[in-house]
């Protein structure tokens, strides 16, 4: 079993990082729809959030390397799903897609207080 970050820890990070008045950044994001969405979410998001995937723009060869590396590192990818997962990632996150636009957290001043 992977060690999933606890709800308490998540709340602590949330409070410290994203407590804000304006332009709230969604804490989590979803992988895009598709027949592999559920399996990709189960395999990848156990350890990290979807944004780490959403921001990539990679060729099929690069996605193949990433999937094989992550599988070696513990991602639960059924061998029968490997090629479909690579295709799903390549289709949705190829170099020809527009760049991912990341959200912003609140602006904090030097004292650490949140401001508008």
């Amino acid at each position: 079993m992977f060690r999933r970050i606890s709800a308490v820890a998540l709340l602590t990070i949330t409070t410290g990082l994203l407590a804000q008045k304006s332009a709230p950044a969604n804490l989590t994001a979803d992988l895009p729809a598709g027949t592999m969405q559920a399996k990709a979410s189960a395999a990848c998001l156990e350890c990290h959030e979807a944004r780490i995937i959403l921001q990539q723009r990679l060729s099929k060869a690069a996605w193949t390397k990433e999937v094989d590396k992550m599988t070696k590192w513990g991602a639960a990818v059924d061998a029968a799903d490997r090629d479909a997962l690579i295709d799903y990632l390549t289709t949705n996150f190829s170099p020809d897609k527009p760049a991912y636009a990341p959200p912003r957290t609140a602006n904090k001043n030097a004292s650490g207080k949140t401001s508008d």
Partner: protein, 346 residues
């Protein structure tokens, strides 16, 4: 801050924050490879030293704080800063220009701590292990630096940043501070130091954080023996204002930013307002320290309205100059091409 990832926490500073010599801690980028330690108890925290030493030593935070404290103003930059500008794209956190910041780090010198244990002649590399929570079968974040850099008078076990105890995001209660080197050298949540007779063998030393010895093209196979560990930072400047895409109504524009060069000193920053055809010398800021960036500015009077491509390039004391075109590498490390913003002046 720009949210590159929430889990793990990876935060980038917008370049417009680079208007002060010291970056306020809340504006300082955060790079985590894994989950932050869930529980950190300063009272129970211990730092152990072992390996090729005369005697193993364990220090508490109180014991560490009794050693002579030294401060270093250091520009810390993630090796992958600027990765999103690489073409073709490469995998990894897609940093823009802001995975960099400058702070005054304080704490005992690493060499004073090593002296307590006594380094044996066989101790040639110093390994750092942090308290990161490792998910799945991911290799732990362990790296090493050569003994020569570890014994440098400015290499610290930092407990403070800009005069305050480190925040959790930045490695509380103690982190390595390896000045002038990529951020990954400065292990956070430090808990173990081990003297080794050779470079540590692990994912974050190889294949991670290595550059090809020769320029390579996308798709080229690179053998591990043809690579070297990424250590010191490159020469680099960024424009922090006006921000890219601005429309200005002004007959005088101050172009400003920051420039740094790792272990070298920035000696010159130039600004071009004509897309790189001609260059003008920028004025360097008064604040300086060996490992810290220099702020710079250039007052420009546009002769007419229109669209302009503004560029900056730095030169350092080793004679290095920012390249006009990026040097591509498979992991997108040390991106340092001439910076550019596009403006409209009316």
């Amino acid at each position: 801050m720009i949210l590159r990832s929430f889990r793990f926490v990876d935060l980038e500073s917008p370049v417009e924050y680079f208007s002060t010599w010291l970056t306020p801690v809340p504006h300082f980028f955060v790079r985590n490879h894994m989950h932050e330690p869930i529980e950190l108890d300063a009272g129970g925290w211990r730092l152990s030293l072992g390996g090729e030493v005369e005697k193993s030593v364990t220090l508490s935070l109180a014991e560490l704080s009794k050693l002579e404290i030294h401060s270093v103003v250091n520009t810390l930059e993630c090796a992958g800063n600027g990765r999103s500008l690489q073409r073709p794209p490469v995998p990894g956190i897609q940093w823009g220009k802001g995975a960099v910041g400058t702070a005054r780090f304080s704490g005992p010198r690493l060499r004073d701590v090593l002296q307590r244990a006594g380094v044996k002649p066989a101790g040639k590399h110093v390994m750092f292990r942090g308290l990161d929570e490792v998910p799945g079968k991911v290799p732990p974040f362990i790296r090493s630096i050569p003994i020569e850099k570890a014994l440098d008078a400015d290499t610290l076990i930092a407990t403070h940043m800009n005069g305050s105890p480190l925040t959790k995001h930045h490695g509380f209660p103690a982190r390595a501070l390896v000045p002038g080197w990529i951020g990954a050298a400065s292990c956070k949540w430090l808990t173990e130091i081990k003297l080794l007779d050779a470079e540590f063998i692990g994912n974050f030393m190889s294949p991670g954080y290595r550059l090809p010895n020769q320029a390579v093209k996308p798709g080229d196979a690179v053998r591990p023996e043809d690579t070297h560990a990424v250590t010191a930072l490159s020469v680099k400047s960024v424009i922090s204002g006006p921000i890219d895409g601005s429309s200005l109504k002004a007959n005088k524009v101050t172009v400003h930013g920051a420039a740094w060069a790792g272990e070298a000193d920035v000696v010159k920053v130039e600004v071009s307002v004509d897309g790189g055809t001609s260059w003008n010398r920028a004025k360097l800021g008064r604040d300086q320290a060996h490992y810290a960036w220099r702020l710079w500015s250039f007052d420009w009077k546009p002769s007419k309205g229109g669209d302009y491509s503004i560029q900056s390039r730095a030169t350092d004391s080793q004679g290095r100059i920012q390249p006009t075109t990026p040097v591509w590498n498979p992991s997108g490390y040390l991106y340092n091409a001439v910076d550019q913003v596009n403006l409209h002046v009316s």
